[in-house]
């Protein structure tokens, strides 16, 4: 099947065009099922590839290129023809992500059939979602960085369209602009990085750039600059600090759309980009360290914000940012496997959380958790699936999040103890705020009786995807980590090392088959960063689990309801801290202030220009000029003007005469002029 892998992004693309342009816009249009069918086919294709990868039957990475266009170029003083190929490059991580993306997208679409039913732009929504997924799948499979960039930007466009889907309201409009501009800020870095890589290697092909790196031709400074540019791009897309300001607002769009953005497509793209170009990062320890600290900072800042928010979707948005920080941090410390593993599990439980939140919002018609409560009996399926997701994201042993987060913490532990402490604390915060959300929503009494009374379980089309995702959220971690499948599927790329002839692009399946002791200290590690499968010491791991459970217990104590004396007390005591978090660390204000500051600088420059430069130079010069001008004027008026008037009058008379002669509105006169002048031109040419 893998030779047809290029179909994977093309099928949803075709479906989206079909849905967008086929049929009439109708709130009850059957067109969405076309998109869902296409996505199911896509999932099937992806699944066969994944199975091949998991069983080892497929030789990965698989690359196939077609010629796209070619051009002549000069590089380093030499001219040559560069043929730009376009193609698919599927390595094992891509195989995993294909399944994740298409599965989550399929679930989101099935869910949306019911959720978006009756919307006036029902059909268009599905076209957007399909297109979004197509762009993401294209990003996953593309072998060419230019195509990757194109897909990247298409995703930016799609997020813009989905966030602003209800563009009649002011909120989505603002949010879509914010998202677009913020991500564009990051994209500029990515663009510079791409140009840098191309200028240095003369190719946009990932495999060729990689070869370039592996042979050690890349100067460290360039590698660092490129890696930092890529990191900036990833920070914009994957909402890392301080560019995460767009993501909390991004939930203005339809909730299933948010689920797609937060789980499978948009934010995953940044992490995926870093993973795809991981060899660039490996060549630059500075960039790796930057990525790690950036991820850590993001994880911490976002988790802190999530502690105080009362908007259910906003809490989830902050948790997404925080989890993305975990992934970025893992990638930064060299935990490639851990980072992508977390991306996979996170996609499942975050999609589930968002879809569950959508189900709740559907039932109670508000985002405010203070107006919810006691929904467990009203919505049992949502309650149970959300419980699974919350347990997974909190990292309770046995659930998927536990495995991946454990792996990340292990990698960080090996790298830097301080970092580990902060990240572990963030993990505790995660558990706390997720359970805070959970208790506020489902526990206790209904705080708004009217809403509570009318709440009801969502229809089957909404709960079915929830159940599927819940199964995945519970079992995917266990399933993937069993038998070290994840290490085999998501092998860490080997670092570039000029001296080591063994450095190779292909993943090494024998590595996973090696016994545990050998894996902990692989004999042939020629690469400097070797703690890929690092683990925390067992007591520490147990301590972390215990602390997580403690955090959950704390959340239960504080937010079990029906009243919240301790939480309220804390809130009144720590008012400044709460305010700080509530205003999202004042980052929005910082960005606005930056804009205002540049405005001020411009105003200052203007003032200097107007009062100093203009007064002294321009005005002085003007005065001097004026004196001369007065003299000139006297001469002018009396001597020159009369002559000029005469000439002007002559010209005017001539013009009027010519005009009367030429412009008389007669077609044939014009035709005669055309003939005469055409003739004259022909004669000139013949002479």
């Amino acid at each position: 099947m893998i030779e047809h892998a290029y179909l994977i992004p093309l099928i949803p693309l075709a479906a989206s065009l079909l849905v967008l342009f086929g049929g009439k816009e109708d709130p009850h249009s059957p067109m969405p099922w076309v998109a869902i069918g296409a996505m199911a086919v896509c999932l099937g294709l992806s699944w066969t590839i994944f199975q091949g990868a998991a069983s080892g039957a497929l030789a990965l990475p698989y690359e196939r290129n077609w010629e796209w266009f070619s051009f002549a170029t000069t590089l380093g003083g030499k001219s040559f023809i560069y043929a730009m190929p376009v193609g698919v490059l599927i390595d094992a991580p891509a195989a995993v992500l294909l399944v994740v993306v298409s599965l989550v997208s399929l679930m989101v679409q099935v869910y949306s059939v019911s959720y978006m039913h009756g919307d006036p732009r029902y059909k268009r929504y599905f076209a957007f979602v399909s297109f979004f997924t197509a762009a993401m799948l294209g990003l996953v499979v593309s072998s060419n960085l230019l195509v990757t960039f194109a897909c990247w930007e298409l995703m930016g466009l799609c997020s813009y369209l989905l966030i602003g889907f209800w563009f009649e309201r002011p909120g989505p409009c603002e949010a879509q602009k914010k998202a677009f501009m913020t991500t564009k800020l990051g994209d500029s870095g990515l663009y510079v990085a791409l140009l840098l890589l191309y200028a240095k290697t003369g190719s946009f092909q990932l495999s060729q750039i990689r070869l370039f790196f592996e042979h050690g031709y890349m100067p460290a400074a360039v590698a660092t600059a490129a890696a930092l540019g890529l990191l900036l791009g990833a920070a914009g897309k994957s909402a890392q600090a301080p560019l995460f300001i767009w993501l909390p607002d991004a939930m203005e769009g339809p909730t299933p759309g948010s689920a797609l953005i937060h789980a499978a497509t948009m934010v995953a793209a940044g992490i995926l980009l870093v993973a795809k170009t991981y060899f660039v990062f490996l060549a630059s320890p500075v960039a790796m360290e930057a990525a790690a600290w950036l991820g850590l900072l993001t994880a911490f800042l976002a988790a802190a914000m999530a502690l105080v928010s009362y908007d259910i979707k906003r809490v989830l948005a902050f948790s997404t940012i925080s989890q993305l920080g975990f992934m970025m941090c893992a990638l930064g410390v060299g935990g490639f496997t851990a980072g992508l593993f977390h991306l996979t599990t996170h996609a499942f439980f975050k999609a589930l959380l968002f879809l569950g939140a959508g189900s709740i919002i559907h039932a109670v018609h508000t985002n405010d958790m203070r107006l919810m409560g006691g929904l467990s009996k009203k919505m049992p399926v949502t309650f149970l699936t959300m419980l699974a997701a919350v347990l997974a994201i909190a990292g309770v042993p046995g659930f998927s999040g536990y495995y991946s987060k454990d792996m990340i913490l292990g990698a960080v532990w090996e790298h830097n103890r301080l970092m580990f402490g902060l990240l572990a604390f963030t993990a505790l915060m995660t558990a706390f705020y997720m359970f805070r959300l959970f208790f506020l929503t489902f526990w206790g009494e209904g705080r708004d009786h009217d809403r509570h009374h009318h709440a009801h379980e969502s229809p089957g089309l909404i709960t079915a995807p929830l159940l599927v995702l819940a199964l995945l959220a519970v079992f995917s971690g266990f399933g993937l980590s069993r038998g070290h499948l994840v290490e085999r599927l998501l092998p860490k790329p080997v670092a570039a090392h000029p001296a080591a002839e063994t450095a190779q692009a292909a993943p090494r399946p024998e590595q996973s088959a090696a016994p545990e002791a050998a894996r902990a200290h692989p004999a042939d590690h020629a690469h400097p960063i070797h703690h890929q499968e690092a683990e925390m010491p067992a007591p520490l791991a147990s301590a972390v689990v215990a602390l997580v459970l403690g955090a959950i217990g704390l959340a239960f104590l504080l937010y079990r309801g029906p009243t919240y004396p301790i939480a309220d007390l804390l809130k009144s005591r720590l008012r400044p801290a709460f305010a700080l978090l509530d205003r999202r660390w004042y980052l929005d204000d910082v960005f606005l202030a930056l804009a205002a500051l540049s405005d001020r600088v411009a105003a200052l420059a203007f003032w200097i220009d107007a009062n100093v430069i203009d007064r002294v130079f321009v005005d002085g010069w003007g005065l001097l000029t004026r004196v001369f001008a007065e003299i000139g004027n006297a001469l002018d008026v009396h001597l020159v003007d009369s002559a000029v008037d005469g000439v002007g009058g002559l010209a005017a008379d001539l013009g009027a005469g010519l005009r009367a002669l030429v412009v008389d509105g007669q077609v044939q006169v014009y035709l005669a002029y055309a003939a005469v002048f055409g003739l004259a031109a022909a004669m000139l040419l013949m002479l």
Partner: protein
């Protein structure tokens, strides 16, 4: 000899009827002479051995366009037209332009003096068909598109007026 007779008589027919087209006062006669002139051109095509072009000329121009123009003349003509001058005051200029242009064109024609066809003409319909459905397929399709557009355009222009004056 026969070829010369055919050529000169056809050339005379074409040019004289063309002159009649542009000078006659009665527009109906003008359009009838147009048909004659076009038929003469068709004859010239035949003498050049362009058999398919000959047929197309007869079918499209002589029996199509000339008749269409005749209809238009009859539709738009008035009895008073017969007493009006049909030539405007521009004719001296036009004559001058034509003389100068004629000088140039004859100079070009003289450049090809003495070129004769060496082989007898062969039927070309099959070759044209192959060319049109082969190398010239795209222009062929585009022309058919242009015809469709002309058809719709003509209907559109006539229809909008038709509603005003039933």
């Amino acid at each position: 000899m026969l070829e010369a007779i055919v050529f000169w008589s056809l050339a005379g027919l074409v040019l004289l009827s063309a002159l009649a087209v542009v000078t006659l006062r009665n527009t109906v006669h003008s359009s009838l002479f147009l048909g004659l002139s076009l038929a003469g051109v068709a004859g010239l095509f035949a003498s050049l051995g362009a058999d398919f072009l000959f047929a197309a000329q007869i079918m499209v121009y002589v029996s199509g366009i000339a008749v269409l123009i005749l209809f238009a003349v009859m539709l738009l003509g008035r009895a008073s037209d017969l007493h009006l001058r049909q030539v405007n005051d521009l004719w001296p200029t036009a004559l001058l332009v034509c003389v100068v242009a004629g000088a140039g064109l004859f100079k070009v024609a003289a450049f090809f003096e003495g070129i004769v066809a060496l082989e007898p003409p062969a039927p070309g319909t099959r070759a044209i068909g192959r060319l049109m459905l082969g190398d010239c397929l795209l222009p062929f399709e585009l022309v058919s598109l242009a015809l469709l557009a002309a058809l719709i355009g003509a209907v559109f222009f006539c229809r909008s007026g038709g509603e005003e004056n039933p």
